[in-house]
Amino acid sequence: MEVGQMQRQWIDYTRSLFIEGFLDAQFLQLEQLQDDNNPDFVVEVVSLFFQDSHKLLNDLTVALDQKSVDFKMVDAHVHQLKGSSSSIGAQRVKNCCIAFRNLCEEQNIDGCLKCLHQVKQECCLVKNKLETLFRLEQQIMAAGGSIPLMELSF
């Protein structure tokens, strides 16, 4: 596939991620932070996020599995996940966290478990999407092209 085609594909794909709500404008902020000094900044941050969220989700699973659930702790974890997901622009994950926190407040264990499941799913989804995107980027770079500047105008 020639570079131009790949770039168009990249643009379309990125756009779809935004339209479908996987990513929000904060992601663009990250992209803007990337420069020649840190050419892999976005990939690094996103990787860090997934590492961290993986741990958080595990902790959450354990916490909700307890006989007597410590909702404060669950809430703290979810809050953290909300913060980090919002920082990278993972919108759907963040929204899930918001719902999750409400359930925590209500101390609704079943609801929390369902939400946890949902959060895990959303994390997986966005992870796959981003991986696809980064792969595409690598291909473009390898073919000598550059990543287009993304501007959203909705």
Partner: protein
């Protein structure tokens, strides 16, 4: 890029050019600002670090509060500002804030994904100088340097002003603080905070004033000794003298202890609940004080903040409080009213520099109706002017709504904002209002949620007038309403605007314009810088271009509306009074200049919350431009080219002496309306 970075121009306000060049001329600051970031979330930490580095700051990051404290203690002067997350596993962010405040007295910005009012309020009461909401945008971080400058400035000011009075005032202040804080209006918040800082700084400063004492650094050991002494005496019986004796530390003075005790008491009060604190304050506040500057200023910034935050219209209350505090003359309703008209906001600044004027303004303000109602029609305004204002207000109203919407949906805004070149708000004049709004809003709001939106709004509403002119309360109120955000930002922005305006009138004609515009503009401080340059073009006034401001003012719907009315009259009055004392006006001028600039800086911050000022500036500038165009048509009796200007001028002049719109180049020595052709 960021026009909002109206840096450094504390020096003098001579012209837009000066302002502009200040940016280039000033040393690298804020580049190189030493920031300490504390957050247990590694993703956020990494992003923040990168963002701060992009802002050319020197960043140190740590992921626990303990590490942060260790770092800070090891290197007391190694950092300029601290940014800390609220929720951390080893220590609550607010606790860390307390420690830093007590031991190192550095500005601290709190940060969280939590944007609940309670949490933000906590930040206020604990003395955070700003509160950022995650996800943090780089725009929000670009302006954090203002907190550093503000703090230093306050110290400097305090040193200068309260040197001699300090000692005597201290005791009084200590008791007055509580009093004043009760009716802590947001407008007063800044003042009081500043005052508080000043007092303490003045006391501890090793400065030119002979009354200054060497700065005492409250190390952990020292603080523990202090706490032990206080415990031994019993918190009720703990008086500085006895504490000092018990501590038996050579070189420590009673004043050092007294000031530290004040902080400590606040800290304890916070622990025991804000409400009680407020109650105390409220009752004590009611005691009329000979509101000397000192007294008011001594009001604990934190206390005021708390109270202010509690108020529905923080800006208003602050303004009121401040006005009340500052206005020596019987607060014309300023003192008692925690929630004042938004207009009062702008008197908020005024009192700082000119007490009487502030009062006047206050009255004016209080007379006017709340901003966001289109009713805020200044009595002085002529019907046609009102009409035009009305017109302009409509779009604003819409915008407000937009703002709200945008606030709610940051991503959307951001996206929209993204589509537009970031730092080029100014250049976007030509676009229609609405689109502008989102973009400008988007940027600020993206970072800080509501506060940003507010700021953005302010920016938009108040086209920047001159540096530091705070678009007066109106715009801010405007913003508040639609956005329902009470943030420090608007508050902070206010003071700046109003004060400068007033003083300027007296001293220079150009200032006059500025003042008016500043006032009109509710909320758009930062943009001033932009406007300055803008204004420069059409007019050869020293200060910002009034025309721009005027336009903006008239354009902006309600808020401006009210402002315009008030400002001209207020300004006029003030200028008159100030004229009489040339010497004073000079000083006032200077004084004003400084605050203005700092105001602009703080504007960015939003005082407490800050960050948004940046957006404000940009927003304002944009706003001005866009509005300008439509405005022209709506003007009734203005010359086509200078809408706002003439509008303002005519309003002003008419009020004053029934003179017609002023020409561009009339001499503003004091108040020479004569030159203005009708």
């Amino acid at each position: 890029m960021n026009l909002s970075n109206g840096r450094g121009s504390m020096s003098t306000v001579t012209s837009g050019a000066a302002v502009k060049s200040a940016d280039a001329v000033s040393d690298q600051f804020p580049a190189g600002l030493r920031v300490l970031v504390v957050d247990d979330d590694p993703t956020c930490l990494m992003i923040l670090e990168k963002m701060l580095r992009t802002c050319l700051y020197e960043v140190t990051k740590c992921n626990t509060a303990e590490k942060a404290l260790t770092l800070l203690r090891k290197n007391k002067n190694g950092f300029d500002i601290v940014i800390s997350d609220v929720h951390m596993p080893d220590m609550d962010g607010f606790k860390l804030l307390e420690h830093i405040g007590l031991e190192m007295d550095l500005p601290v910005i709190m940060m969280s994904a939590d944007d609940g009012k309670n949490v933000v309020m906590k930040g206020v009461t604990h003395g955070a100088c700003d509160y950022l909401i995650k996800p943090v945008r780089i725009e929000a971080l670009k302006n954090i340097w203002q907190h550093v400058v503000r703090k230093r400035k306050n110290e400097w000011r305090d040193t200068e002003q309260s040197g001699s009075a300090e000692e005597g005032d201290r005791q009084q202040k200590a008791s007055d603080d509580a009093d004043y804080s009760s009716s802590a209006n947001e407008s007063n918040w800044r003042n009081s905070k500043k005052r508080r800082d000043e007092e303490e700084e003045a006391e501890e400063r090793d400065d030119t004033s002979t009354l200054k004492k060497p700065r005492v650094v409250w190390s952990v050991e020292l603080h523990q000794q202090f706490v032990a002494a206080v415990d031994q005496l019993g918190i009720d019986k703990a008086v500085p003298k006895k504490i000092l004796e018990l501590m038996n530390v050579p070189g420590l003075t009673r004043e050092n202890v007294a000031s530290h005790l004040q902080k400590y008491r606040l800290y304890l009060r916070r622990l025991s609940g804000v409400s009680q604190h407020q109650n105390n304050m409220n009752s004590s506040f009611m005691n009329p004080q000979d509101a000397t500057f000192g007294t008011i200023s001594s009001i604990n910034g934190i206390d005021l903040q708390t109270l202010a935050a509690a108020g529905q219209l923080p800006a208003q209350s602050l303004a009121t409080l401040q006005a009340a505090g500052l206005g020596r003359s019987a607060p014309k309703g300023g003192l008692p009213m925690p929630i004042m008209d938004q207009r009062n906001l702008f008197s908020f600044e005024n009192p700082r520099l000119r007490f009487t004027e502030g009062q006047q303004q206050q009255q004016h303000l209080s007379n006017s109706k709340p901003v966001n109602l289109l009713h805020g029609i200044p009595t002085n305004m002529e019907p046609k002017q009102l009409a035009s204002l009305h017109q302009s207000s409509q779009p604003l109203g819409n915008m407000t709504v937009r703002v709200n919407a945008s606030t709610q949906s940051n991503p959307l805004l951001m996206q929209m904002a993204q589509s537009q070149p970031r730092g080029h708000m100014l250049s976007e004049n030509t676009g229609p209002h609405l689109p502008r709004l989102p973009s400008s809003l988007g940027q600020p709001s993206a970072s800080n949620g509501t506060s940003n939106a507010l700021m953005g709004r302010n920016g938009i509403a108040g086209s920047t007038r001159a540096p530091g002119y705070n678009p007066i309360s109106q715009s801010s109120s405007m913003m508040n309403f639609p956005i329902n955000q009470t943030t420090e930002m608007p508050i902070s922005s206010f003071p700046l605007g109003s004060t400068p305006g007033i003083s300027s009138i007296t001293t220079k004609g150009s200032f006059q314009e500025e003042v008016t515009s500043g006032i009109k503009r509710a909320g758009g401080f930062v943009p001033n810088y932009d406007i300055f340059s803008e204004l420069q073009k059409p007019h050869d006034w020293e200060v910002s271009n009034p025309s721009l401001t005027y336009n903006a003012a008239s354009q902006h719907a309600n808020p401006l509306h009210g402002n315009i009315d008030v400002s001209p009259s207020v300004l006029v009055q003030q200028s008159f009074s100030s004229n009489q004392q040339t010497g004073q006006s000079r000083d006032a001028n200077t004084m004003i200049v400084k605050p203005i600039f700092s105001a602009s800086e703080s504007m960015e911050q939003g005082t407490l919350q800050n960050q948004h000022l940046n957006t404000l500036v940009t927003d304002n500038s944009i706003r001005v431009k866009t509005e300008r165009i439509p405005d022209a048509s709506s003007q009734t009796n203005f010359y086509p080219e200078h809408y706002g200007q003439e509008d303002l001028m005519s309003a002003l002049l008419k009020q004053q002496e029934g003179i017609g719109p002023a020409e561009n180049d009339f001499d503003f020595d004091g108040y020479s309306l004569d030159n203005v052709p009708v």
